[in-house]
């Protein structure tokens, strides 16, 4: 990413870990009940934290680890393993452009170039107005509609490099 936005420093003592909101911890407790051990809920829980805060920063990672009975390092090892967990701040919307072989065969490189030009950023970066982060992703399983991309929770196929504006305008 072009800029690393650190979260604002916690008020008061430096070693106090900000707790997660009670609604979130309740949701995570429910999830944990589906498994023989609470730590098995960590991937779903990371996604819940991310849904709430936009990404998983160090402070929230530590709080979640504590909640699930894992070390922060272990949870970081899990969080950094996955393509869809963001350990750094992202824009309001994340565009995941599939760069695997079927999309590559159907014009992904040209689509990527158009997106980069249109947004004024390279892959891995966030626009200056923090509206979009552009990231590559591996096969989305939408190969019969290549080239494909995901924006936030929505999947888009048969994306035309020349018709990006109507697509992007849905994401303010």
């Amino acid at each position: 990413m072009s800029t690393a936005d650190a979260p604002p420093p916690a008020q008061g003592r430096a070693d106090v870990v900000p707790a997660l909101p009670s609604g979130l911890t309740a949701a995570i407790a429910t999830l944990a009940g589906q498994y023989a051990q609470p730590r098995a809920a960590c991937v779903e829980a990371l996604k819940c934290v991310q849904q709430h805060f936009g990404c998983v920063d160090d402070a929230r990672l530590r709080a979640l680890a504590s909640l699930l009975g894992m070390s922060a390092e272990e949870l970081d090892g899990v969080a950094t393993y996955y393509n869809l967990i963001y350990r750094r701040p992202v824009g309001r919307h994340v565009i995941h452009l599939c760069d695997s072989v079927s999309c590559w065969l159907r014009g992904e490189e040209q689509l990527c170039a158009q997106l980069e030009q249109r947004l004024g950023i390279r892959l891995g970066e966030t626009t200056a107005d923090r509206r979009f982060t552009l990231l590559p992703i591996v096969c989305l399983g939408y190969c019969d509609h290549a080239p494909a991309l995901m924006i936030d929770q929505t999947l888009h196929g048969d994306v035309q490099a020349t018709a990006l504006d109507p697509l992007l305008e849905h994401f303010p």
């Binding site: 996604k47 591996v138 190969c143 019969d144």
Partner: protein, 428 residues
Amino acid sequence: MPAERPLTRNIRIGEEPLDLAGYERAGGYQAVRKALRGMTSQEVVQAVSDSTLRGRGGAGFPTGRKWSFVPQRAEAPVTYLVVNADEMEPGTFKDRLLLEGDPHQMIEGIILSAYAIGAQYAYIFLRGEYLLAAQRLKHAVNQAREHGYLGEHILGSPFSLTVHVHTSAGRYMCGEETALLSGLEGFRALPRAKPPYPQVAGLWGHPTVVNNVETLCNVPHIIERGADWFRQLALGKDGGTKIYGASGQVSRPGAWELPMGTSLRELLEEHAGGMQAGRTLRALLPGGASTRFLTAEHLDVAMDFSSVQAAGSRLGTGTMIVIDDRTCPIALLRNVEHFFAQESCGWCTPCRDGLPWVEQLLAAIEDGTGEERDLEVLAMHTHFLGPGKTFCAHAPGAMEPLESGLKIFREDFDRHIREHRCPWKGVH
């Protein structure tokens, strides 16, 4: 008489899937009634063995045989069934079709298979990107539970089953069954040493069977109509139908349920509509990115496990990636090996260090800075990252397209090296 399409008979693209009532009206959950009221677990296993159903996730292992490795109930008080719905093999989109299109079929397959192996708990391990499938599956699980098809004493039988939908967060390695279990347990999803196999010691150390989505969706039909019926759907000795697919430079990318053993020619020319206008077939990967290339000389090969193997490749997922004569094959191999290098879990040295090296060499060759000896190094990798030399099958899978590509694209490799450039640059 038109061919039977049991897996996709309820599926209408672009429409809502059948809800529980609709699924029942269409004949659904009859197999569950038949099994729970009139068959033993062992009889269900036998029916699936007799059907010759082989795993549809890529490996083609006989399903009945996999189930037979689970210890008897008395020795295994806790047993798990896990559905591998982490479909991420490049070029593969058939499980998505089944999960979004007929979630109750998936659940019925789970109930029967769990009954067969004596599992009381089942997890659907679903890739995180399949958001619509997650929504539809969770809804269907809730409906099934409300109507007594899941939970305690299903249909008044001694059999109880709890199903949870677990969504992942994007990592190809989770498709490897032991890495999947590590991920499901909440660890970094690295594969595990085998033996012990999951059927003996899997999820939280308990006997666990991991099966692919398409594999399990066949089970209700096998139980309802019988093993003989299933075998007769096919054209060869591997029974049933298969959801085949095609992507890449064909006219009509898509997925189609057809008799197992349908020819490559029929798939490519009839269903996929042949190559896009003005393009000629160069090669194709028959079963996803981790299979060896086939070419025009293989068009009459039957797309079943043994025939594709005899032709020098693998059926894999049965969804093919088709390449034309205007695509630089070195650039294609670079894209494919970039995927494998990026998705390596990093645990074992040959994979962690070898795959990025392979990618770098292919990039150099593509960009015109490659040398003759780079081909020797690539060939060396196909040996040292081959089966038996790595901790799991990821790197060996990555070597399949490379090994066959080094042979069939030899002239293209030589031209890039000799001419110090990509001859395909600017060709569209």
